[in-house]
């Protein structure tokens, strides 16, 4: 190209340098403010990081929409679950009285709560939308103890950045950042639509994260681990979802 002058080359060089420096500075800032998701590496890392960072900046304190009782979906759709094992069946036969939720990791007072104890904690009830990443959704009333209350009871350390939660189904474990963990609508749900939480919907205990898609609301939870890093969990990608090819952050 004959028109390519020295001035243009210098301008382009300066612009490229400024761009690269800007990107490096942005990456550093994003790292510092915890805006890079645990699956932020690899081919789709840039898109995931942009989504997570943008949504964290826009939605840190926003409340999921709550609906009127007449908008509740009847009947709601219970997604298929993997067969529940013998351990679950034994607990189910005992009316889940022996179901326990262990809380450990970066906390002052590690604890193990029975279902009864969790039900005696302050309750919150909310009618929210649950959307599956497949495209379907339903609206239901969820009742439970806010996760933030349980975190208060055990006393999370200031370094805590994530809460890892596990299901009695060994393949299911997830994690959320503290913005979602401390969010008033994030519930350890034990009730639904005015009754006990049915097994098909995750009973006796399901973590409801209403600002993320359904797969972050793990059913049959048995353990919470509070941590400052997700590197030591599984393959270090944050949860079982990225290990199965799905994004860790499911706010979209």
């Amino acid at each position: 190209m004959s028109r390519l002058s020295r001035r243009k080359l210098i301008t382009a060089g300066l612009a490229a340098t400024a761009g690269a420096t800007g990107l490096a500075a942005a990456a550093k800032l994003a790292q510092r403010y915890g805006l890079i998701p645990p699956d932020g590496g690899g081919l789709y890392g840039p898109g995931e990081t942009l989504t997570y960072a943008a949504q964290r900046l826009l939605t840190r304190h926003s409340l999921a929409r709550e609906f009127n009782p007449n908008q509740v979906s009847r009947p709601p759709f219970a997604n298929a679950v993997d067969p529940l094992g013998d351990a679950f069946k034994r607990l189910q036969e005992g009316g889940f009285t022996d179901w326990r939720l262990t809380v450990d990791g970066m906390v002052l007072r590690p604890a193990s709560f029975s279902l009864g104890e969790l039900k005696s904690f302050p309750r919150r009830s909310q009618i929210t939308h649950l959307a599956c990443e497949e495209g379907w959704s339903y609206i239901a009333e969820w009742m439970g103890v806010p996760l933030s209350h349980v975190l208060d009871v055990v006393g999370t350390l200031p370094e805590a950045r994530y809460v890892v939660y596990r299901s009695i189904q060994p393949d299911w474990w997830e994690s959320i950042d503290m913005a979602d963990a401390l969010h008033p609508q994030t519930l350890i749900a034990h009730g639904m639509n005015g009754g006990e939480l049915p097994v098909a919907f995750g009973g006796p205990l399901r973590l409801r994260v209403p600002r993320q898609l359904g797969y972050k609301s793990v059913k049959y939870i048995t353990r919470l681990t509070i941590t400052d890093s997700l590197k030591r969990f599984g393959k270090g990608l944050g949860s079982a979802s990225p290990e199965g090819g799905y994004a860790w952050y499911a706010g979209i």
Binding site: L50, L58, S62, A131, W136
Partner: protein, 253 residues
């Protein structure tokens, strides 16, 4: 000064039958980046769609809800009744990663395009139709010419006709914004921050349904666009959009 990368395209000033500039570098670069993103969004969008090829109106909908309509295709989930005896493989993981990454690139590219197009008067010069071209008479003449499949004139190679201008404006300022908006309205986090953006669409399932229809319109646009490029001279049009230059009278290189 202005006649650089962005160059205003002054066809009249250039001598005839020489290689002359047609599309500025930013138009060409953003055109092809958008093309790649669009294809990625289309493939990944179809993959996501087949996990639940049913559509609803309102806030919520599932297989227990009567659909607005459903597509007569197999699904990638056993929980969706389709009438087919098989289930397609689940491709949602990478499809969702790719969909959002391409959407980011497309949106950022689109912003770059709009900012520079405004700065350089691209919309005013190349896309806003002349007032005279908008009369019913002028419009019906152009439409009749298209219906009679009259070959494009050389003049058409240098400037968009009124139908092209209106179509490009519709795609850039109506369909693209609408597909971005309805896409974001499906996000539970965005819905929590901007509930009104979901409510005016009629709910999150309505947003999904509108997203589908706008995507169909964009695919129709793509098909017509490609057919017109082929009909009016594939090599010249491609060369203009790749190299930026157009030489209709020159020997084909």
């Amino acid at each position: 000064m202005a006649d650089s990368v962005w160059g205003p395209i002054s066809a009249a000033a250039a001598p005839a039958a020489t290689v002359r500039p047609r599309h500025s570098a930013v138009v060409r670069a953003t055109h092809w980046i958008t093309t790649l993103c669009f294809l990625a969004l289309l493939v990944s969008g179809v993959e996501i769609l087949i996990s639940h090829p049913r559509f609803y109106w309102g806030e919520a909908g599932s297989v227990l809800t009567p659909p607005l309509f459903r597509l007569p295709i197999p699904a990638s989930r056993a929980t969706v009744p389709t009438g087919y005896g098989y289930v397609l493989p689940d491709q949602n993981g990478w499809s969702r990663y790719l969909h959002f990454q391409s959407a980011w690139v497309a949106v950022l590219t689109g912003l770059l395009y709009v900012v520079f197009a405004l700065f350089q008067g691209h919309f005013r010069r190349n896309l806003l139709p002349a007032r005279a071209d908008l009369s019913w008479r002028a419009l019906s003449t152009v439409i009749a010419q298209h219906l009679r499949l009259r070959p494009a004139s050389e003049e058409d190679a240098w400037s968009y006709n009124v139908l092209q201008r209106l179509t490009y404006l519709l795609v850039i300022f109506v369909l693209f914004p609408l597909v971005i908006w309805t896409g974001l309205a499906m996000s539970p986090a965005i819905a929590s921050a901007f509930p009104a953006a979901v409510a005016v669409l009629g709910g999150q399932q309505s947003a999904r349904t509108i997203h589908f229809f706008v995507s169909v319109l964009l695919v129709l646009f793509l098909l017509v666009h490609v057919v017109m490029v082929c009909v009016t001279g594939f090599r010249d049009r491609m060369r203009a959009m790749i190299t930026g230059r157009l030489a209709p009278d020159m020997d084909r290189i």
